[in-house]
């Protein structure tokens, strides 16, 4: 058995704000194998982005990694000093964010920004760097790459900019890519182009990827494995088809049922009642209790641990949804 490329153990990242401590990530664990693509899903505020930023070492005060380990290739990123992290970011871990404009410098040409990455992280000479930049731009589908190196970010459309960001993320041949909602701001036809492109790039380079998104449909088409977050905790994790076809956790079940499915249209969607609770004062026991159709007395007393389920996934629930059931209603 190969060792995981990334192993996150009991990660806790908290924000100490004026209104109280936000336990944005509170005990998250998962493993990512080399070449594996994992989807990190859940609703807004679940802690998806904070997990991504924690791995990248980009948590700024009032936030802090309070505990846990982020083992990347044997090193604990949570313990590394900032300058060591800076060397890892860009070279070994690439990143793609939702808004390409925030990761591109508006007053520098694309070529300059790409060259900078290579100068920082490789020993290539100027000619080789230029060749690599052109090769990379062409592989993300930007034609006349040689000329485009002289262009500024604002001269590209949203979809093109995201391609450039992906090209930059892949430049130094990183082994892990963290993509936070990379296509959320794009149109479906552009989204489908970008997703196909990312999948191909990852496969070609043999890299792993964490795809952070709220869109289960995107995940279903892209990843090998899913981790579902709710209120800063992993509620379910496992192979993608198993989690989507026979989810064990009532929250995952509810999410899937909330998505209208053109293949079998119901007169009413099976909605999850209520809203995500305020993470500053979660209910005792299971955080999903107040919205859960299966909740029983035990759920208020004891927090459910992540346990193995049939079908190979793990779920944190005292009363998991049976495989035969297709809605979130109690049996």
């Amino acid at each position: 058995m190969t060792a995981p490329l990334l192993s996150v153990r009991d990660l806790r990242t908290w924000f100490h704000t004026f209104a109280g401590t936000v336990k944005a990530v509170n005990g998250v664990s998962f493993d990512l194998m080399p070449g594996e693509v994992m989807g990190l899903v859940g609703e807004s505020g679940g802690g998806k982005s904070v997990v991504g930023f924690s791995i990248l070492g980009l948590i700024d005060p009032p936030g802090r990694i309070e505990g846990g380990q982020i083992l990347f290739d044997g090193r604990d990123l949570a313990q590394l000093p900032e300058d060591a992290l800076r060397r890892i970011r860009g070279r070994e871990i690439g990143m793609v964010f939702q808004d390409p404009m925030t990761s591109l410098n508006p007053v520098q040409t694309i070529g300059r920004q790409m060259d900078e990455v290579l100068r920082l992280h490789t020993r290539l000479d100027a000619r080789a760097r230029r060749a690599r930049c052109i090769e990379m731009l062409e592989s993300v589908g930007i034609s006349q790459a040689g000329d485009r190196l002289r262009a500024y970010p604002h001269q590209f459309s949203g979809g093109m900019r995201q391609r450039v960001v992906i090209a930059i993320a892949m430049l130094a041949r990183p082994r892990l890519i963290i993509a936070d909602e990379p296509t959320t701001a794009l149109d479906v036809t552009i989204q489908s182009q970008i997703l196909k492109l990312m999948r191909r790039q990852i496969a070609e380079e043999g890299a792993s990827m964490i795809l952070v998104t709220h869109d289960l449909a995107v995940v279903a088409e892209m990843v090998d494995k899913i981790t579902v977050l709710y209120c800063g905790k992993v509620v379910e994790t496992g192979p993608v088809r198993e989690v989507i076809d026979t989810p064990a956790h009532p929250y995952t079940r509810g999410l899937i049922d909330s998505i209208p499915n053109p293949a079998h249209r119901l007169p009413r969607l099976n909605q999850i009642p209520g809203t995500v609770p305020d993470v500053r004062n979660l209910p005792a026991g299971c955080s999903f209790r107040e919205r859960c159709p299966r909740a029983q007395a035990l759920c208020a007393e004891k927090e459910p641990p992540l346990t193995p389920q049939r079908g190979g996934q793990h779920a944190a629930c005292h009363f998991p949804v049976p495989a035969t059931q297709t809605t979130g209603e109690p049996a």
């Binding site: 149109d187 479906v188 552009i190 196909k196 449909a217 053109p262 909605q271 809203t275």
Partner: protein
Amino acid sequence: MTPMLEVEGLEQRFQLSKGLLDRITFKGGRPRLRNTIVHAVNGVSFAIAPREVLALVGESGCGKSTVAKTIARIYEPTGGRIRIEGEDVSAYGPRRMLPVRAKMQMIFQDPFASLNPRQKVRDIVAEPLLQQLGPSRRAEVRERTAALLSRVGLNPEQAGRYPHQFSGGQRQRIGIARALSVNPGLIIADEPVSALDVSIQAQILNLMLDLRDEFGLAYLFISHDLSVVHHIADRIGVMYLGFMVETAPRDRLFAMPRHPYTRALLSAAPTIEPQRKTVEMELTGEVPSALSLPSGCCFRTRCPFAWDRCAIERPALRDLGGGQSVACHLIDEPQRDRM
């Protein structure tokens, strides 16, 4: 039966800047005058029967919101006719629009920007009704406001709070209550669930369908999400670059999409069951600018079937029977359809 809403050849242009100096650009070293007219909507026609849900889909910038806001007479149409229950309102000024506003209301996309942050929820919801009834009937308005809030699933005791004290889904409910207050027959909903999480989106979609049955509403429902549209719509119109390229009843559109763009859209939409996908058609390139429309067919720059006729002649929307209309030359020359 008179349609609730009838739109005929609707056209909306925006002038970007008026100053001559702002328009000069340099292209290839020579000064040129830049185009400054945005062709946002270019002759769109459709009708919505009472209690019917018509959805408009398309990518961002294709003119969906502009159609919605022109019908709601937030914008003055630059061409075409808008009829509400048979009454042509396209040239009405604000005063003559007032009684029409009791028949037609609107729900907006952004749950944060669509509520005035400095107004109490009670005043937000009461605003349209207060314009209709006048300030003398404030007590009546207040009672109805409370009833509306509880109907959309909010606690009327929270009516004295400000919008920032509510979550995105709750704000959308406030917006729905505001639209319902005058008891309209038509609600224009511009991407009402796009900014919401899926679980909240399902709650709002259920609420909107319940309200339709209860109050006999017709919706013009705008969305870019095909699965949402499939769930809520009776009929669907597909827009591209300000043109309506195809309209059809829901099931027919999903089963037999005819326009190449509709087919591409259906195949690009991600689904949680990718193994079931039938149509495979990938588009290259991006949407051209609405500042300079392509000649002929608006879709020809990305259409895999385009041939010379498409660059010369603009295809008109043609009725194929069964409620389906398509604007594409492939209808005349089906042998060119290689898929």
